[in-house]
């Protein structure tokens, strides 16, 4: 983490916003959902940035923006120093192949009517002029790299277990030699023992190929294991952003702390004093004024409901968007 300044990020987002307009029914004005509201991030080659948050926090929207399935309403998305949104079509199509995605549900992400070989070769058919034999060679090489056997090339997805399917999905993501892999909850549909296999595979591939991961997850124990940096999101905004050591060792935002304390732990010494949140996630159509979290936060005061906090850099170089942290009035930070 010390060489942060020296390396240039392979991918970064600057002020990314994605707003959707939503029909609320007849006779009502159209509402706006701010799925993402001004998100900055950067990820370096060979590193993992974890995006953490509950449903509706905008982490899946972020994944769709990064892989250019959607175009943001506002903001810049830089890949290797070039703004992807300003490039011409041909150049963008070329760079797009350097960013791949792995989905949560390995049962839905593989086309059930195609053989594994066909699925793996699809990106090559579309984007390259490789011959049939060359494509097959590459597909089999990657099958072996993710721990499957060459004879799996001719089988259909339904013949595989969840973990094996996720391996196939990873192999497909690697077909075009990507630099960045967006992993959208890649292990949350898998059993614990299989989850460990897939996480190990992802870490091995990262070491070998120098991949940058944007790892989207709600499971903090997985994030702690795999991530270098963590970005905690709440209702479309980043509330805390820092290194894994900072986030897990010294969580500052009350929401981060609540997430951590809600995560069950096997070892009693890892459990931290519970911060129980009251209420649920507010509707993104009608977000609260001020800090979006103030309604559920036991430390909120009048300022929190009136003004919107911005990310400010803390003494340990992490950034937090919370007035309570700015004003030094959070009891757990004072006592620590």
């Amino acid at each position: 983490m010390t060489d942060t300044q020296s390396t240039r990020p392979i991918m970064q987002g600057l002020g990314l916003k994605q707003h959707y307009s939503v029909n609320q029914g007849m006779m009502k004005p159209k509402g706006t959902v701010k799925a993402l509201d001004g998100v900055n991030f950067s990820v370096e080659a060979g590193k993992t940035l974890a995006v953490v948050g509950e449903s509706g926090c905008g982490k899946s929207t972020l994944a769709r923006l990064l892989t250019m399935i959607e175009t943001p309403t506002e903001g810049a998305l830089e890949f290797d120093g070039q703004d992807l949104l300003k490039l011409d079509k041909a150049k963008r199509k070329e760079l797009r192949q350097r960013i791949q995605i792995i989905f949560q549900n390995p049962y839905g992400s593989l086309n059930p009517r195609k053989k594994v070989g066909t699925i793996l070769e699809e990106p090559l058919v579309i984007n390259t002029k490789l011959s049939k034999a060359e494509r097959k060679e590459k597909a089999i090489a990657l099958l072996q790299k993710v721990g499957l056997r060459p004879e799996h090339y001719d089988r259909y997805p339904h013949m595989f277990s969840g973990g094996q399917r996720q391996r196939i999905a990873i192999a497909r993501g690697l077909m075009m030699n990507p630099k960045v892999v967006v992993a959208d909850e890649p292990v949350s549909a898998l059993d614990v023992s299989v989850q460990a296999q897939v996480l190990n595979l992802m870490m091995d591939l990262q070491d070998e190929l120098g991949l940058a991961y944007v790892f989207i997850s709600h499971d903090l124990s997985v994030v702690e294991h795999i991530a270098d940096e963590v970005m905690v999101m709440y209702l479309g905004k980043v509330v805390e952003y820092g290194s894994t050591e900072q986030i897990f060792g010294n969580p500052q935002h009350p929401y981060t702390r609540a997430l951590l304390s809600s995560t069950p732990r096997i070892e009693p010494e890892k459990r931290i004093d519970k911060i129980r949140l009251t209420g649920e996630l507010p509707s993104p159509l009608n977000p609260p004024s001020g800090c979006a979290f103030h309604g559920r936060c036991q430390f909120a005061n009048e300022r929190c409901s009136a003004e919107t906090p911005v990310l400010t850099e803390q003494s340990d170089a992490s950034t937090v968007a919370c007035f309570g942290v700015d004003e030094g009035r959070l009891p757990y930070l004072v006592s620590a």
Binding site: T67, M68, I69, K93, R96, Q97, Q100, I101, F103, Q104, N105, G108, S109, L110, N111, P112, R113, K114, I119, E122, P123, I126, N127, D154, R155, Y156, H158, M159, F160, S161, G162, Q164, A169, R172, M176, D191
Partner: protein, 294 residues
């Protein structure tokens, strides 16, 4: 349940057959259809007589097993002395061909329109679906009669009319399947791989929508035969002396009370064929629809 790797991969076709063949009704239907198809193909060799040949000495001969019947005409002859068995065999050729053409036409057009509507959404969707709604709002046979009245009565025109009548069913079915598939992750990942719209529609999505369409097409086949027979009965379909099952029924109307066999056999063949297609369609649905499996 965790699915483990079978030692020998089962091909989808073998799996399909194991489900299909466990349905006895569907097998019987398939068997009957195979027989009819073979008869139709080899009609020239199988039929004892030419379908148009009139045996003036044997007008209204009853079937062979009844009094006055002769083994020369197994199912008897009609009002102008043509062999009913031969006409039925040749009629199968015509009826099946027409059914096939009608289903293929409406299926092909329905798939294209339905894919476009489901895939592009918005204005394309609205336009296609409203036209389909209008077509569905008219009684099918009336619509077909109207189209035939405009184009003139002939076997080709009534076929066209019927394909138009069936079109909305295929459009709606395709669109519904596309909508349920289009947001699945495998489609998104093809998009990420840079697949074009046409590739996404026809190569990625379509194969996953085919199962309900195949079932609908099989059932549509029997509808086509039935409606074609109705048009023929009304004199708007096949024109005499073509041996088409519906028009055979129509020309036999006057003998309903005097010579039962002239009406009964064409009616029976239509009934059995339609039944066979429906049984097979049900079997196909059970075998192809993953929701009904297990």
């Amino acid at each position: 349940m965790t699915q483990t790797l079978a030692t020998k991969p089962v091909s989808p076709l073998a799996e399909f057959w194991s489900y299909f063949s466990s349905n006895k009704g569907a097998l019987a239907g398939l068997g009957f259809i195979v027989v009819i198809v073979l008869l139709a193909i080899f009609a020239d060799f199988v039929a004892p007589h030419h379908p148009h040949e009139q045996f003036r000495d044997f007008i209204l001969t009853p079937p062979a097993w009844t009094d006055g019947g002769t083994s020369q005409f197994l199912l008897g002859t009609d009002g102008v002395g043509r062999d009913i068995l031969s006409r039925l065999i040749h009629g199968a050729r015509l009826s099946l061909l027409i059914g096939l053409v009608i289903v293929t036409l409406s299926l092909a057009m329905g798939i294209c329109l339905g894919l476009a509507a489901g895939f592009f959404g918005g204005a394309v969707d609205s336009a296609v679906m409203r036209v389909a709604d209008v077509l569905l709002a008219m009684p099918p046979l009336l619509l077909a009669i109207a189209v035939v009245a405009i184009l003139g009565p002939s076997i080709v025109n009534s076929g066209l009319a019927l394909s138009l009548v069936y079109l909305p069913h295929y459009v709606r079915l395709t669109r519904a399947s596309v909508l349920s598939e289009i947001n699945k992750d495998y489609v998104v990942s093809s998009r990420v791989a840079g697949a074009s719209s046409l590739r996404l529609m026809f190569i990625t999505i379509l194969p996953n929508c085919l199962a309900p369409l195949i079932v609908q097409a099989t059932l549509g086949f029997s509808n086509a035969i039935l409606d074609m027979a109705a048009l023929g009965f009304l004199g708007l379909g096949a024109q005499p002396p073509l041996p088409e099952w519906g028009s055979m029924l129509a020309t036999a109307r006057e003998f309903i009370q005097s010579a039962w066999w002239v009406v009964t056999f064409p009616g029976l063949v239509i009934l059995l064929t339609v039944l066979a297609f429906n049984l097979m369609g049900d079997g196909l649905r059970d075998a192809l629809d993953p929701k009904l499996k297990q």
